[in-house]
Amino acid sequence: MDSYIETPELREQFETPTQQKETSTLGMWIFLVTEIMFFGGLFLAYTIYRKEFATVFGLASSTLDAAIGAANTAVLICSSFTMVLAVRAAQIGSRKALIVFLILTILLGGIFLGVKAYEWNQKFEEHHVPGPAFYLEGVPPGGQGPAQLFFSLYFTMTGLHALHMLIGEGLMLFLLWHAYARKYTPSYYTPVDIGGLYWHFVDIVWIFLFPLLYLIARHQH
């Protein structure tokens, strides 16, 4: 037990802080792999139906607002940027910068979710939500079925992404609270680090969703 370094953050199953940090980071990366597979099921469904109903998917995709989509992508990239700066602030022990960047990240995430909510609301008003009332202008009557498939995938994919964003916002608030309570030091900021990993991963999912959902056939319609 002599080698046991007593620091408040070291949990009893670990021998050293380095071991603890590496373990937590590895755990987070493995968790992200499970997230890849989770979204993977949706990407598979998307690939198969897009291949099968290429024309209708193109038409349906072009009814989304590409400008809003691109702008929202930029918002999310900004939030990733502030997140990485927050991690950096934690690394060098600047509590004030950490708090500022976490707040910025939360705000940017909020903007993204707000825009998403606005888009969803628009879809409801335009009857682009799969169901008996569904009708997509510009798609021939016989193509309404596959057009619904597109919007089913759109809502499921963006919905699950938004859910991950919400969880991310919760994580950020938690980090903010702990940062405010001076829990993080340059020798212990693992939660900020792995929170950042999660946030960036959610960003990456959107990086794929944006072209796959918004930009299928812009050159044609």
């Binding site: 037990m1 949990r11 009893e12 199953q13 021998e15 071991q19 590496e22 373990t23 590895l26 755990g27 493995i30 968790f31 792999v33 499970t34 997230e35 890849i36 597979m37 989770f38 979204f39 993977g40 099921g41 949706l42 598979l44 469904a45 198969i48 139906y49 099968e52 109903f53 799969p130 169901g131 079925g145 596959p146 619904q148 498939l149 089913s152 995938l153 809502f155 499921t156 699950l160």
Partner: protein, 542 residues
Amino acid sequence: MITEAVQERENYLNTSHGIKSWLLTKDHKRIALLYLHTITFFFFLGGIFATLIRLELLTPKGSLVSADTYSKLFTLHGVIMVFFFLIPSIPATLGNFFLPMMIGAKDLAFPRINLLSWYLLVIGGCFAMYAMLAGGVDTGWTFYVPYSSNYSNTYVIATGLGIFIAGFSSILTGLNFIVTVHRMRAPGMTWFRLPLFVWSNYATALIQVLGTPVIAITLVLLICERTLHIGVFDPARGGDPVLFQHLFWFYSHPAVYIMVLPGLGVISELVSVFAKKPVFGYKVVAFSSVAIAVLGFLVWGHHMFVSGQSVYAGLVFSFLSYFVAIPSAIKVFNWTATLHKGSISYATPMLYAFGFIGLFTVGGLTGLFVACLGVDVHVHDTYFVIAHFHYIMVGGTIMAYLGGLHYWWPKMSGRMYPEAWAKLSALVIYLGFNLTFFPQFILGYLGMPRRYWTYPDEFQVLHVMSTAGASVLAVGYLMPLVYFMWSLRYGRIAGPNPWGATGLEWQTPSPPPAHNFEETPVVTTEAYDYAALAAMEEAKVG
């Protein structure tokens, strides 16, 4: 006197008391026991369903329960046994208890997540139980669309949610194991000194982490389809029901290896200890576990040879399925070779190991039939398939689980089980199992389809044999329940190493102290080095 001495020494069981000390414990050993209680409950629950199914099938015309009830019985039997017993069975109990000890760690890497996984299993189980009590679910454990999405009027959503939540339990256990094996090994515990049980649990964990998320998203889609009618699998809107089967089997085929791989690890331990020899071809056996885990992901389409999947995809999946046969065969050959010139004890765990090898061999060899395209077209969805996977899951996994439970019982409880009763029950289980399931191979080849409430008269003799076997099997399974409980109070005190085994878990008192080891062990020998163990014992005596 001795009893008091054992009870006085501090161990993980008496270090703290009260229900709270159990429900909030972060000790992997206590969590393992929580799991043990939970899955024992689910095992007997699933067993009751199985008994009712077999009783119903005693006569060709349904007479015991209605057709509707029968459909719910086999669905719940499958759901409970697969998701709430077999998948957590060995990893969450024996793995949870012994994996950290075997690598010389104080605990798993994430003890709180470990506790969380138990709660998730219980919550998932509650959803499944709610579905059961509210009216049941009748889709079959496979939940094929569009029946499950648009036609069934039963509690599909509650059951789906239950499995979804239990899935997270499985993912988190797997994640915990992987990280633990990578980061928490004791000094000197190199990869090739790991006991084979650790290797097989590591391979299992890989599958849990990579496969389970896909069943999660599949169930999300199914639930969305039922509640919001999104139509992803709805043919009327261009959706493809076969896509559901791809997603389902991408997880559910590897899930078979989640169930059986830990069992293969247990058998490697048992064969070595009770032959007092290192496992023949240690590295080959270790790698074969990982090979099974990886190859297991490339073969799911062999569940879909007649589903409307393209014949060319069928070709690829059949071809790759045969690759899984090789690492499985290697294991059986290596265990057999381990026995050669060994010092073979007939203790109960070894009887289970013998039983396992025999039944797993039959299960594996009949797997060649169902992997064979031309034959599978005929036997697909018949009792042949039922018999085949029960040989793997019951004859394999449950045999290994019981063998492992007997083997490690002295370590977990500090006391021995009654040997004579245990031998008797092992024999009863073995005979009962074969009588139950062997006739089903013949039934299946004759053409008896799965999930039939009634059947043509000519199949009755075989069904009666199967039901008779099931009653023997039920008695066999009840016996350990009784004598294990009995042994907790009246069993002989075990001592730290009753079997003369080499693993680190045997070098600490039984039951182990809260932090497993008095001091972090340093490993200097290979796994299964019985000579070194003998030398060490001698040194202690001298």
